[in-house]
Symmetry: C2
Subunit: 750 residues, 2 copies
């Protein structure tokens, strides 16, 4: 589901300055000198095992037929994966849930006026790519958890359909009330588009892929090149994921066969209005029939037309009806039992379901995980044992709404809170640069691992290559940081993949990794994400599949066998301080914007620049922004910095002198719980399922992360009272974390 692979590598990580050899045995975080030597030896053996040829073969097998949730090949893949794990020596099983999964009964998009056009809503077969012709097994193009309806209304083009776009429409006096909106993909997660449209009174929503963002403007289209062809369509979920992912009938509990289910009509995360995705081939007749104002420059796509907003004269009929079936979900769960701490779990996952054949998304990540499992199995045969239990998972039904992972995490919540010390996620893979996001307490370990894996193209470490990218392509600030900061900075996580229930619902320390940035393409969630496409245009020799297995497997091995869990809190404290700085700057910016608009109204500036030939609506005066009290947040981040420094001294000293079993057990239990001190049982305002107070998907951005989300969104919405309250809750959480870290240090100092 994730579009991480499409992001510029820049947004991801930066690494330290000097060219550095592969990591030496003495600086493995969490290991005493003695255990580090053994660990390095096993890690080196591990990284020699993953084999591009096997990765390729597994990708070809898993992507050979469409395998969405509920499909025969999806079930077959789950069973095949289970059997592979078993053959590698793991204890593997399938855990089944039953979820509400809508599939199309009727789809219709028609232009009625000023001319007639009936949208094809179908992706043509590409000769030479046999996977594209598996018609009978392909899911049609649609958005899962769309509302149902049959509506006819004037059309309005809303650009990406994000809040700023509606502000622009309002300035022009254009309303979408009673209209069908057409938005282009991009600028936010897709589910935001119908959600906002419905809030603004629209009765339907069409989403299309503009060739400027995802088509011929980017490069040659498939099959001549990797980009989206004229009739290619992006499927995808429009469940209200920023409120809660997973089965909309069982929010907060696992969708076991006998789980209590609410009525579909009562499900709040199902979209209220009908939504359908279309190709740019189908969009062009609709968009070129629009009248009204010419759009601003930033709204223009690459179709050979004058983009206008409407409303009308284009009048459109949009009809969407679905089969609402309870569908079985097959999660594969494989275990290597830990020798010393079997009740401390290192959990690793990637989903196995796809929208269609899904060679890139998700299979390219799934096959790296599978190759890690094989390699770990090999190590076991050679005498290696994980000290902690390793749990490898292959999730079903990620695409429609993160269903497999969410239901499993909800179902096993108590056990996971008790046992899981890490959740490590991948979701597909590509060619290019290592990207990483997650809990900042794991940033240090990620850096060390990234220094131990070689990039297959440049032959420097994946860590050095990412640093070079940030120096070369970054802003001056990013460049400076990449050169001067000791460690790479990892991203905060929003949503869009299976890490969400673990990190944001359960408060388990989490990482998400993958390669990308040199593998552009436009086959995302279409019938063209195939073995043929992947082996022509992406990680064609599967060396980045191997690199991903090396990075992820090393992270797993290191966490599984550390004497003390590899957490570090200095980066967390620094990052939290940075977020507080962003909140302060955001308040200033919002305050400045309000004051400027009011001043321009008072001074007659807006009236003087009105163009009588292009009427616009003057904004109304807003109340000035309030000042906010940042002292508690500043105090809490400083406390956390001090605690982190004390912890660091105690941690190093303890490892230096050797750690006894009782200390290790006590400290590791506290380290496992550290992430949870950043959560709140009551959750975020208006979305209690999300409990993490530092990281959440934006309420109006979707996948995109908002850090310190409740406070940040309150400031954005000018809800000054709520902002004060939420800043207080974050400050309390950080103070709680600081106290927790002090207690760990104290335990280590004994």
């Amino acid at each position: 589901m994730s579009r991480r692979l499409q992001l510029p590598a820049l947004s991801v990580i930066a690494l330290v300055l000097s060219p550095t050899p592969l990591v030496q045995g003495t600086d493995l975080r969490g290991f005493t000198a003695a255990s580090a030597a053994t660990q390095v030896d096993w890690e080196n053996r591990f990284r020699a095992i993953p084999d591009p040829a096997r990765i390729r073969a597994a990708l070809q097998h898993l992507s050979a037929r469409p395998h969405h949730v509920g499909s025969p090949y999806g079930k077959a893949n789950a069973e095949w994966l289970r059997d592979q794990f078993t053959s590698y020596g793991w204890e593997a099983k399938i855990e089944e849930y039953r979820v509400l999964f809508p599939t199309p009964k009727e789809r219709r998009v028609e232009l009625l006026e000023p001319v007639k056009y009936v949208a094809r809503l179908e992706e043509p077969v590409i000769p030479g790519d046999p996977s594209t012709s598996q018609r009978a097994e392909q899911l049609p193009t649609y958005n899962s958890y769309s509302g149902e309806g049959d509506v006819t209304a004037p059309l309005v083009y809303v650009n990406y359909g994000v809040p700023a776009d509606y502000e622009e429409l309002e300035r022009r006096g254009i309303s979408v009330r009673g209209a069908i909106v057409i938005a282009r993909y991009g600028g936010s997660w897709r589910g935001i588009k119908p959600k906002l449209a419905a809030e603004k009174g629209a009765v339907g929503c069409i989403i299309y892929s503009d060739p400027r963002d995802d088509g011929y403007a980017q490069g040659e289209v498939y099959p001549a090149g990797p980009w989206r062809p004229r009739e290619g369509v992006q499927r995808g979920s429009v469940l209200d994921l920023p409120v809660a992912p997973g089965d909309p009938l069982t929010v907060g509990t696992g969708a076991t066969p006998d789980a209590a289910r609410i009525d579909r009509a009562a499900a709040t995360t199902i979209m209220k209005i009908p939504v359908l995705p279309i190709s740019y081939g189908d969009a062009q007749p609709l968009l070129s029939a629009l009248g009204g104002a010419v759009v601003p420059e930033g709204w223009r796509g690459a179709l050979p037309i004058t983009y206008r907003t409407g409303p009308g004269p284009a009048r459109v009929r949009l009809k969407a009806e679905f089969h609402w079936n309870l569908t079985p979900v097959y999660n594969v769960v494989a275990t290597l039992r830990g020798s010393d701490f079997p009740d401390e779990w290192v959990v690793r996952g990637n989903h196995h379901d796809a929208w269609v054949n899904g060679a890139e998304d998700p299979v390219a990540g799934m096959v790296a995980e599978l190759e890690e499992a094989r390699a770990l199995g090999e190590l076991v045969k050679q005498g290696w044992r994980p000290r902690r239990t390793i749990v490898y998972t292959a999730w079903d039904a990620e695409e429609p709404a993160l269903l497999g992972s969410t239901e499993w995490a909800e179902h096993h919540a108590a056990e996971l809170r008790q046992k899981a010390v890490l959740y490590l996620n991948t979701d597909g893979n590509g060619r290019g640069y290592l990207g990483a996001g997650g809990s900042h307490s794991l940033e240090r370990m990620l850096n060390q691992v990234a220094r131990s894996v070689e990039d297959p193209e440049s032959r420097v470490t994946v860590w050095k290559r990412q640093q070079a990218a940030r120096i070369r392509f970054g802003t001056p600030g990013q460049r400076r940081e990449a050169r001067e900061r000791g460690d790479l900075r990892i991203d905060a996580l929003g949503s869009g993949s299976d890490f969400t229930p673990f990190l944001q619902h359960l408060g388990i320390a989490t990482l998400n990794v993958g390669f990308g940035g040199e593998d552009g393409g436009g086959i995302y969630h279409s019938i063209y994400d195939t073995f043929a496409w992947f082996t022509r245009f992406s990680d064609t020799s599967f060396v980045y599949g191997r690199a991903l297995a090396q990075v992820a497997g090393t992270l797993v091995m290191r966490t599984a066998n550390a004497d003390l869990l590899p957490h570090e809190f200095g980066a967390l404290a620094e990052t939290a301080r940075g977020y507080v700085g962003e909140l302060k700057a955001l308040r200033e910016e919002v305050a400045g914007r309000i004051a400027e608009v009011n001043r321009q109204l008072d001074d007659g500036v807006l009236a003087a620049t009105a163009d009588p030939k292009r009427p616009e609506k003057l904004p109304t005066r807003e109340a000035p922004a309030l000042h906010l009290n940042f002292a508690a947040l500043d105090n809490a981040t400083e406390s956390l910095s001090r605690a982190a420094a004390r912890f660091e001294r105690a941690y190093a000293a303890a490892l230096g002198r050797g750690v006894d079993r009782a200390t290790a057990a006590a400290v590791n239990a506290m380290l496992r719980d550290a992430e949870r001190t950043l959560t709140s049982d009551q959750g975020l305002p208006r979305r209690p399922w999300y409990r993490h107070l530092l990281y959440a998907p934006g309420y109006y951005t979707g996948y995109g992360v908002k850090t310190m989300p409740a406070a940040r969104e309150a400031i954005e919405q000018r809800a000054w009272g709520e902002a004060e309250t939420e800043m207080g809750r974050v400050a309390e959480a950080l103070a709680r974390t600081a106290a927790h870290v002090e207690r760990i240090a104290e335990r280590l100092e004994r």
Copy 2:
């Protein structure tokens, strides 16, 4: 010729803060209190006279048929204009020159491989716009002063064809040597494109209008809307204007019938390679036949294709041959003789020739000038007399190379240096905001005049409206300045219109004004710039034609009748100080860029980020930038600031107590010469025709101004020694100006 009307209003002027009534009689710069009262009275009477209906009728008459230089209707227009001036009571005549003016003999653009396509090179008639059907009189689409040739070569797309674009191509290892380049209009003056292409070894150049910049992406195309239709072509000059405008056979002297002429083969300003402009309809088959790398995002136009660089497989034939005729130029020169100072001239001009019918360019400006002349004639009938001589001109042959104005200015150079106190230019007109550029010593007067004219749409002064635009649409810095600076800041002038010979060759204080910014359109230099287009899409009610007549006429009257000429030097000193700051920042930026590239080479950053599937050429190490001595420039601008302050005190005191005739004569003569202290007889490096040391068109930008051009361009080119020398020359000039201003103050203090 100027595209000023297409520029955002922002780049032009900013005005002071508070809503201000139309100017009162007591603060007219250069007037004693007594003469100011009379002046205000006459100015008010003047501004009541211009009549939109007459402006419309004159525009309809002058644009009724194609009237390029050498055409029958062009000659008829000159005679009609002369007769109009005469009928208003002016002494009017036609002054004739003979210039080399090439017109097409044969034009051919053909795609030979991989498929065949023959470019139409013709603009279709638009039913409903009768002017477009005057086929027999229309000049074909071409670029004047193109080289001749018949070349066949692989095609390379070079984006705008500016220096940064060739740097990008070099990074990708792409050369244009032996190729034909295709560049889109925009990003620089058009003549830069073939000039740079030839320097890089290309054998031909095609320039096209991309619909992203000038076509359907901007809005509906003509006749449905104002924008450039699919087969519309922009004609225009490609003479090497940044080296010298005017007749290439008589550079520096007037092209009188008996002038000495060089051989055409020896003319350095004629382009070396063949060039032809084409429409986007003709460009699309060529561009879509290109292979090679996909272009970077900033290079993408709005055609529905994947833009690629080539070279090849597209192979193109380009043929251009011309009739090289000596052609008569008919300048109209009309005079109102001054009562007190007949040998002090206020010169006002707009060109009358067009590429085709030219309703917007140039006629909309020409008819405002004509209406001013009528109104001034009316005032004379009512008893008003100009104290200085007013010279109203209508230039021929501006479009091909500023020929009429340049030959006249060169021919009358000695007399103009002796007599001209101001050159005031316009070049077409549109709807929207007042734009102004010119000598910063006239900034104060321009501000005062802009406060005395009402904007016809908003009913605030044109000055207040421009201030509001800068506050609303400007950067934070522009916004602050617009609010806090007492006066509007005017632009420095580059080239592209008839002010160039006066300001930059003769050193006469100059202003250039016009309205625009709400009148977008894509008919520039095409057969669609017609009365029908103008009256549907531009200043449809001609109220901005009246406003232009009011602004320009008031500037003329105020300069003509001031007791002391309205110069002021504080703004000049502040502006020069700003330019010095820009030079310092430019050196730092160039130095930083060199150091950064060298560091990235040393650190292996570029090698580590290379993509083996997209080969690129690593840059080579450059010598570090040298530090430069800015002390002389800093000293000179400070001297000028001090001199300006002293002058200001003396000027106010003198006007306060009354100015005797001898003082006025002496001081006005010195003020007339002030602009000349900023020039150098030896001119700029490699282009001695350009003598102004503060303002010139950029050697590699064309119309776009470079301030302190020789020093700035030397720094850009990393010619550190030349930069030092040229900074010294500018510092000397500014010191000379400071001393001159001190002498004027001294004379006033007597």
